[in-house]
């Protein structure tokens, strides 16, 4: 892909011609992962304004971890497999990264898995520390991820559950019946990402006004802002400034 020579981007800076010696193939063709990846330098072709050709990053596939995971992770998995017969069906992937265990759970099974994790004597994840959303735009059909951070106060362990849903059908069961603390956090995830938690007692917006349209933390939702004049120069709003991949 080559950018036409006469095009200008939003910042008004002319897009340069394709540099000599550049090949029209990957990695140059990687699209920016977010609107934040484009900006004033606005090289639509590579997005790489670093001057170091070929340093454009690529989205790494998430690697499934292999046993043994190390630490308490093996114990947690074994205990869950024993206590939860549908383990093979519910758990899509087990990832160990940077000393943290992540179980990717099929969204419709999330409440069941939480119930077992909370109640089983060998697991005892009593505290749901955090529920948040992440929008992996462009990665997958199921781009909205709900991330649960569970803490076992008894064993002093933490694990992460991740459930992915699509924008078209952003439904998964609420865990509020198991962890009442998830109430507001699920509301926040609904407010910010439009993820619908079925069975939530009062799934309304919490941080944004009730009549707000859209879900601001989605990656295709613009940051907004106006240009500001500073010492005669016009400074574009943050999402229009030059940016590096």
């Amino acid at each position: 892909m080559t950018a036409p020579n006469d095009r200008t981007n939003d910042g008004g800076v002319p897009v340069p011609v394709t540099p000599a010696g550049a090949r029209g193939t990957a990695p140059a063709e990687y699209p920016p992962s977010s609107p934040a990846g484009r900006g004033m330098f606005g090289n639509q072709g590579t997005g790489d304004v670093s001057g170091y050709g070929g340093l454009v990053r690529q989205r790494q596939p998430i690697e499934e971890a292999s046993r043994p995971y190390g630490g308490y992770f093996d114990e947690v998995r074994d205990a869950l497999e024993e206590a939860y017969p549908a383990f093979g069906d519910a758990i899509e992937k087990v990832v160990v990264d940077r000393g943290e265990l992540t179980l990717h759970v099929r969204p419709e099974r999330i409440a069941e898995v939480c119930q077992v994790l909370r109640d089983d004597l060998a697991l005892r994840f009593e505290l749901c520390s955090s529920v948040s959303g992440v929008d992996y735009l462009g990665a997958d059909e199921r781009r909205l991820h709900v991330v649960y951070l569970l803490t076992s106060m008894t064993y002093r362990r933490r694990i992460r559950l991740e459930a992915a849903v699509s924008v078209e059908a952003p439904h998964l069961p609420s865990v509020t019946a198991i962890y009442p603390t998830a109430d507001w956090q699920e509301r926040e995830a609904y407010d910010m990402f439009g993820i619908v938690f079925d069975g939530h007692p009062n799934l309304t917006r919490i941080l944004m006004p009730d009549d707000w349209e859209g879900h601001p933390q989605r990656k295709d939702y613009p940051l907004g802002g106006v240009p500001v004049e500073y010492k005669g120069a016009e400074i574009p709003p943050p999402d229009r400034r030059r940016s590096y991949q």
Partner: protein
Amino acid sequence: MTTSNYATERETTEGRVFTVTGGDWDTVVSGTDPINDERIVVNMGPQHPSTHGVLRLILELEGETVREARSVVGYLHTGIEKNLEYRNWVQGSTFVTRMDYLAPIFNETGYALAVEKLLGITDDITERATTIRVLMMELNRISSHLVWLATTGMELGAISIMLYGFREREYILDIFETITGLRMNHAYVRPGGVAQDVPDEAIVKIREFLKMMPKKLKEYEDLLSGQPIWLERTKNVAVLDVTGCVALGITGPVLRSAGLAWDLRKTMPYCGYETYEFDVPTHPDGDVWGRYQVRLAEIRESMKLVEQALDRLRPGPVMVADRKIAWPAQLAIGVDGMGNSLEHVAKIMGQSMESLIHHFKLVTEGFRVPPGQVYVAIEAPRGELGVHAVSDGGTRPYRVHYREPSFVNLQALPAMAEGGLIADVIAGGASLDPVMGGCDR
């Protein structure tokens, strides 16, 4: 009924609605029928001096008894998490520090620890930087608890303690100003270390503070602990037991006041807290009085920690050695806040073109963080402050989510308030110590 000049009333499908602007209580009272309308709904806040910030409470009252309480938050939502996605990783410090404005050092440290874990440089952080972080966090914990004491006192009608609490907090803000250049919103703890070294005069000030503070604490206790009104307003008020706390996700002093010694500094240590000597104060009652006792005891424990951290400060670098991550210069504090490093400016402008390029790249572009996600939790003055940071391999955060203790803890308000008196809603809400800047982010 005659219409007053002050109050406006209108009929809605829900019944008669009054807009109260003050001074019109006769109209309000005469407008309701005390025999048949036993329940009234009172909207308290978001602009109310005793709701601890822009918190709105909707209370359904039967006489003075609260039958239902609902809190409404979001009035201070500033989209910090979204904004972070449009700045580089170092710039994130300046955003997160503004979340919980009474505990900025905690927001920064949580963020820095998360970025360092993503980078895999947790073990490379210098000892001096870690010790300074502990020092700053514990000073910040004291100042945050002092504001809690001050505002809670004020909300319960004890004005003197408000003045005392803010007066002593000023000492700590002075210390922060000496070290970071700013009283609040420091952006001092950065990924890789801290922005600049602690000057000697700050050490002197901290030692002075440590000498002065025990007397002041005694003063607070003399003023409040035996005082009948304070006891009446706090004992057996807004009780929440351990089961309730864990179910609702309540951590920090509120959980400890119910008797569970859950403190992340002890249970899941970070920043070398396992090597310090301190206790985790608890209280058996789980009421406002218990929370008051726990917080006062925590101030004392934090002073112990500050003292130990001071003794451990050994000369050394305060940033990681990796020049691809470390901010290019040791900045200096000028008269008007955080300034430049003249030595560094002279070097990049006059001596070394490579240094200039490096400075430019690191400051404008920032460093890349390998893809992945981490969750780091630290014990903030209000409970577990968790940072969920996601990187996609770029120079900017892909997503940062703060598990804010104020946000989570506020969910306990209905459980504490319902069935009690309206005056106890204030005491219960204050005892949670919500900071709306952190809650709404």
